[in-house]
């Protein structure tokens, strides 16, 4: 009888210890970079749809931030909206509504930027996601992946994306890509090599936004 009681108490203890562990390690953190440069600003409608998909898919406790890619993107000012959803589903739903409103107002007043600083956005995103202490960290880049840096912007140094997933979304082909597809393929290969070198665990390219949106988020 005493032995049974001891086993029961130990089991409860173990379960309690497990429950007291770091719960954030099972949560998603998503940082979405939206390219607003040049002609790509016209793709904003698709970006809003993807953000809606993320809002519908992410669970209470997960984190989501949307930032624009501008001339120099390594700044908090470029974060359009960010939120860590409440643990309670009802509160999380309210937060999602508010987030959606913010994104929609941003989409209405969007202004195209002259340059595209994807690397700066990546570093900013990594910083934000590291702060959230999410277990699964995903940086979504909604861009044609054509980086154009302004004069004086230095980005040719090694970056750290240890444990991150990087998803390139809606990587549209440029006019020059059509003439020589190697440019497009090289561009993607270069980015993949760069993020993998930075320590990213996964590199995913999703161009079929109708059928392949599930690839954005990794399964828990």
């Amino acid at each position: 009888m005493n032995k049974c009681l001891t086993i029961l108490i130990l089991s409860f203890g173990l379960v309690s210890l497990g429950a007291c562990g770091d719960n954030r390690m099972y949560n998603h953190g998503v940082y979405m970079l939206v390219d607003t440069s040049g002609t790509y600003a016209r793709e904003m409608g698709k970006a809003v749809k993807i953000i809606s998909y993320l809002l519908a898919t992410l669970n209470p406790g997960d984190s989501l931030a949307v930032a624009k890619v501008e001339t120099r993107s390594f700044t908090e000012k470029d974060i359009v909206a960010k939120v860590t959803f409440d643990k309670r589903p009802s509160q999380a739903t309210s937060q999602k509504r508010a987030f959606k409103d913010k994104v929609q107002s941003f989409a209405k007043d969007i202004k195209g930027s002259a340059y595209t600083d994807i690397t700066g956005g990546l570093i900013q995103g990594a910083e934000y996601l590291n702060e959230t202490k999410s277990g699964i960290k995903t940086i979504v880049i909604f861009s044609d992946m054509q980086e154009e840096l302004s004069k004086g912007t230095i980005r040719d140094f090694p970056i750290s994306l240890d444990g991150f997933r990087v998803v390139a979304l809606n990587v549209t082909k440029l006019g020059t890509d059509n003439a020589d597809p190697r440019l497009y393929l090289d561009r993607l290969a270069r980015w993949e090599a760069r993020v993998r070198k930075a320590g990213a665990t996964e590199w995913v390219v999703v161009n079929d936004l109708e059928n392949n949106l599930e690839s954005i988020l990794a399964t828990r």
Binding site: G18, N27, R88, P89, T93, R97
Partner: protein, 483 residues
């Protein structure tokens, strides 16, 4: 890669080298014949003895286990039968207490009715006084020989008087009969009452007789259990199998109910304990909390049925004094009701959360909200709430099949274990037999490899001592093997 050339004496002449190797090996095997036979024999004997020992142990253990199972089965059967007999006695006691205590009153009533009927009957027996004996007088008058007016007038007067008296007597007689008919008519309800009372008594006696028959059946079983006869044991074992099948089926249904229950409260529990808390990967705290609630409901149901003495899984509760048991029963019922109320409110919250999420999805997809019919949309919500309240109480009754399953599973598992041990024992015994024979086979197989030296040996021995000695030598190992 093995270099076979190193084994050859003459690498250029492989055949000669192989022959030389074979010759050497044969000579070696011939020289080592006796010890090799010893090794083969000892090894096989060792394995054979070991397996036979294990087989014997398994058979003995199986027999012990069967005896233990039998005693447990009979004890449980005896207990069950004792409970049934006790219950039958209680029923008979109730009948005797409730119905038979009315028997003196019934008897008194019947006696009263009988006395009244007897009185009435006696009254019926009073006959009206017979008419006066005019007949003798008339006969005397009729015998007067001389006629005349006087006798005629006398006769006429007498006739008139007789007629008058006759009419009066007839009227009296009719009235008297009428009175007697009335009395008999009044007896009729008394007869009916008596008949009804007799019917009631008969019915009660039939019930009592049925109970007595039931008790006879149970007592027969009980005696069989006490006598430990095989027929009763077999019947109890089969009953355990049937009980296990039935209770397992009910348990499966109950598990289905519990799953529905779990689905009802898992989502709203995340509102209470947080949806992003994980105990392990894929194991949310809210899911575990919902499961704990359901298990608590089942436990409360178990305690409730225990305190009602419907189940007897906890002897401590069964042996509690009635006051404490009643307190425990009330406490269990209160907790169960509270949990049911919590579940009902969680079901309501679930509906609200789903509605909220659906609305958000519509917002995200920029779809206009669907027109809602108030009554129709509230039916699922009410249904969920009712289910949330009712399911915990339904789940409480799981304790009954659970108890049955626990008891019958012990018997069934015991039977399977005994059969498995016996089966294993047979396999080990067979293996022992095989190894015993294998020694002979291996010895003979060994001798095949050195058949040439053996033939030479036999020839040499025959040359020295004659053929009878060789035959004896051949017979000797056979006898040893047979031994």
């Amino acid at each position: 890669m093995v270099n076979w050339n190193s084994w050859l004496f003459w690498p250029d002449n492989a055949a000669l080298s192989v022959f030389a190797l074979g010759l050497l090996a044969t000579l070696f095997l011939y020289a080592a014949r006796a010890p090799m036979h010893g090794i083969i024999h000892s090894t096989c004997a060792l394995v054979s003895h070991a397996t036979r020992f294990v087989a014997r142990w398994l058979f003995v253990a199986a027999d012990n286990m069967r005896l233990r199972n039998q005693s447990v089965l009979l004890a449980h059967g005896q207990e069950s039968e004792a409970v049934l007999i006790e219950r039958e006695f209680e029923r008979v006691g109730d009948i005797v207490r409730k119905d038979m205590q009315e028997f003196p009153a019934l008897q008194r009533k019947m006696l009263e009715e009988a006395t009244r009927m007897e009185d009435d009957y006696r009254k019926c027996g009073i006959v009206p006084p017979p008419p006066p004996e005019w007949v003798t007088a008339l006969e005397s008058v009729a015998q007067i020989k001389s006629g005349g007016d006087i006798p005629r007038k006398l006769l006429e007067d007498m006739s008139k008087s007789i007629q008058k008296i006759h009419d009066k007597t007839i009227a009296e007689f009719r009235r008297s009969y009428e009175d007697r008919h009335k009395i008999l008519n009044a007896i009729q309800p008394s007869w009916r009452t008596v008949e009804k009372l007799m019917g009631e008594m008969d019915k009660k006696m039939v019930t009592l007789q049925t109970n007595a028959k039931q008790m006879d059946v149970h007592m027969g079983k009980f005696e069989g259990i006490r006598a430990k006869d095989n027929k009763t044991e077999h019947a109890l074992t089969m009953s355990s199998f049937v009980q296990l099948a039935i209770s397992s089926l009910v348990m499966v249904i109950a598990v289905g109910g519990a799953f529905i229950n779990y689905k009802l409260i898992a989502l709203p529990m995340s509102e209470m304990v947080g949806a992003s808390d994980y105990i392990m990967s894929n194991l949310k705290t809210s899911d575990v909390a919902a499961l704990v609630i359901i298990l608590m409901e089942a436990s409360m149901g178990l305690f409730l049925l225990e305190s009602l003495r419907i189940t007897q899984l906890f002897p401590r509760i069964a042996s509690m004094d009635d006051r404490m048991r009643r307190k425990l029963m009330i406490a269990s019922l209160v907790f169960l009701t509270i949990l049911a109320a919590i579940e009902s409110s969680l079901a309501l919250m679930r509906d609200m959360l789903i509605a909220d999420k659906t609305s958000l999805m519509r917002d995200l997809a920029s779809i206009a909200p669907a027109a809602s019919d108030g009554v129709l949309t509230s039916i699922p919500m009410i249904g969920q709430m009712v289910m949330g309240f009712v399911l915990p109480f339904a789940l409480a009754f799981v304790a009954i099949p659970f108890e049955n399953m626990v008891h019958s599973l012990r018997t069934v598992a015991g039977v399977f274990l005994v059969q498995s041990m016996r089966g294993l024992g047979v396999i080990f015994k067979f293996a022992g037999l095989l190894f015993k024979r294998l020694a002979t086979v291996l010895e003979m197989a060994y001798d095949v490899t050195i058949v040439v030296p053996l033939m030479v040996e036999r020839w040499v021995v025959a040359m020295r001592t004659g053929p009878s000695a060789v035959a004896e030598e051949v017979e000797l190992p056979k006898q040893r093997r047979a031994a």
